[in-house]
């Protein structure tokens, strides 16, 4: 395993993806994460304000800080791949400090075997989502101070 550049909370996740036999297994695992709808943003909360631009399908994210000043996010998307990447991002950042979220490095996506999600022009818009989350964290950390 290369030098870890992601929150500890992702170690197990990354490990699980690394253990997959091939790309299709990785996607199956990603779909499983996407299926974990407990913490997703339900469609009736989707609006223009929380929409992520640059995704071909619809994707929305809502970020906040809790009473302890910790970052919280919920995401929702039409497409399972985006939803899965959102869920994993949520695992990475939920309950972290806003500063840590603002500095989140997307390398874990590469380590998980989804390098193609990292180019900005990909229509799944993972990079747009991540940018949005980091910007929200920056904004919220300012608000909290």
């Amino acid at each position: 395993m290369a030098e870890r550049t992601w929150p500890e909370a992702l170690d197990k996740v990354v490990q699980a993806f690394e253990n997959c036999f091939d790309a299709m297994e990785r996607y199956e695992l990603l779909f499983e994460y996407a299926g974990n709808t407990e913490m997703t943003l339900p469609p009736d909360h989707w609006n223009d304000e929380n929409m992520i631009h640059g995704c071909q399908s619809r994707a929305h994210v809502e970020c906040s800080v809790d009473e302890l000043g910790l970052f919280r996010m919920r995401g929702g998307a039409d497409a399972q791949i985006v939803q899965g990447l959102m869920e994993i991002t949520r695992i990475a950042v939920d309950g972290s400090s806003c500063e840590d979220v603002a500095a989140l490095n997307p390398d874990f996506v590469d380590a998980m075997g989804f390098r193609s999600a990292l180019t900005p022009s990909r229509s799944n818009g993972f990079m747009n989502m991540l940018e949005r989350v980091r910007n929200e964290a920056r904004r919220l950390s300012g608000e909290f101070e």
Binding site: A23, M24, Y27, E28, F31, Q56, S57, D78, A79, Q80, I81, V82, R115, S116, S123, N124
Partner: protein
């Protein structure tokens, strides 16, 4: 196709191996076609040995460049059964249609005049007319699709034609692969006194468009969809409509003389081309039509049709897949739109990409057609001359696997 292996060998990209180790299977031909070496080399050869600005050729290089440029124009015009003087280079189909809107329609249409379009049109043949409608108040009429037949509703077309001045019609749909009954549409339109603009962006790669025989007033074309380079296309226009045009883009080349007091323009198509020509692009497109001229279009059509039928039959057998095109119909070409009931089109695209399959996904610049079909987007495969039965079979087996594991 005979010699499909030899033919494929002419396209360097077709032996591409993708970063994930999968060989490329290119099923996105309706978006853009691949280019044979002869086209790529013609352009490099120009830059490496005789690059020069064209016209007013008083040196050897300029003479060579001008000769190549004009000979490309002759080849391209001849390929489409047109005179060189009826061909105006543009950057593609989109600019060609805009040229009609600016140079012809703005001078010949006025408030209340009607333009007939179809729900099947590409945005390139919709937005210019809506814009003109905002600007000078023309009426834009849309002929609906007959959803049962998945074809243009010809009764509705007849109805829409009443009193119309112009018909804008896509030769072959980039979403459904359906070729419209262009000959009937042109005949009916002319009988009713309307001019016809044919969007042949897709059609030109699948059949020999013969401008004079076809009888359309305008035909819009893109080189990049027919083995040619990006950055060039053309409008074919009859002498009659050319004589009704005013200038569009103005500057060098299109002028007869310029002075502080005013300028005068050249006639016909020469008035409609300005600026340094797309020299390398014209040479590349010329090489592309030379290449296509060696192809038996009937044989090509049969080949593509066979692949498309194999693909769509295979897809229909897969649980959850809905196919919007019907390649069995004689007026169909190699473009098939489909959707899975549960796997979103975006996920499908990514999962196919993982297998090396380049397919297009989205609205295909045809939102009104998406609305008519009642979908937000489709997955689309579009086949061309160099695709093979093995590619189709491997596509089907990958698709089946995706549907089983992710559906």
């Amino acid at each position: 196709m005979h010699n499909i292996r030899e033919l494929r060998a002419e396209f360097p990209i077709l032996s591409r191996v993708l970063p994930n180790g999968k060989p490329l299977v290119y099923f996105d031909n309706a978006a853009t076609s691949q280019k044979p070496s002869s086209v790529i080399d013609a352009m490099s050869g120009f830059y490496e040995t005789f690059n020069s600005n064209a016209h007013r050729a008083n040196h050897t290089l300029a003479d060579e460049a001008t000769t190549a440029l004009e000979s490309a124009r002759s080849s391209i015009a001849a390929f489409f059964g047109a005179e060189p003087s009826n061909l105006i280079y543009t950057s593609g189909t989109t600019e060609a249609i805009n040229l009609v809107a600016y140079a012809w329609a703005r001078r010949n249409l006025s408030e209340g005049d009607a333009v007939v379009l179809t729900e099947m049109e590409h945005h390139a043949d919709i937005v210019p007319w809506q814009e003109l409608s905002k600007e000078i108040g023309i009426e834009v009429r849309f002929v609906p699709l007959d959803l049962e037949k998945m074809a243009l509703d010809m009764d509705a077309f007849q109805h829409a034609l009443d009193g119309a001045e112009l018909v804008g019609i896509v030769h072959t749909s980039n979403v459904l692969g359906i070729r419209n009954p262009i000959e009937d549409i042109i005949r009916l339109s002319h009988e009713s006194g309307a001019k016809v603009l044919v969007d042949a962006a897709q059609g030109a790669a699948h059949e020999r468009i013969d401008f004079i025989n076809l009888g359309a007033d305008f035909v819009a074309l893109s080189a990049h969809k027919m083995a040619g380079p990006t950055g060039i296309g053309a409008l074919l226009a009859t002498d009659e409509v050319l004589s009704q045009c005013g200038p569009f883009l103005t500057g060098g080349q299109m002028i007869r003389s310029v002075s502080i007091e005013g300028s005068s323009y050249r006639d016909g198509s020469a008035m409609l081309e300005t600026g340094t020509p797309r020299i390398a692009e014209a040479i590349g497109w010329g090489a592309a039509v030379d290449w296509l001229s060696k192809i038996d279009f009937k044989e090509m059509h049969d080949h593509i049709k066979h692949l498309a039928i194999t693909a769509s039959n295979g897809m229909k057998e897969i649980d959850g897949i809905r196919v919007f095109s019907d390649p069995v119909r004689p007026e169909s070409s190699g473009t098939i739109s489909f959707l899975h009931e549960r796997i979103t089109s975006d996920d499908m695209a990514m999962l196919l990409d993982e297998g090396g399959f380049a397919i297009r996904t989205g609205q295909h610049c045809a939102q009104p057609l998406m609305d008519a079909l009642g979908v937000l987007s489709t997955n689309r495969i579009s086949l061309w001359i160099y695709n093979t039965e093995e590619e189709v079979k491997s596509f089907l087996s990958h698709l089946r696997m995706i549907c089983e594991r992710f559906g």
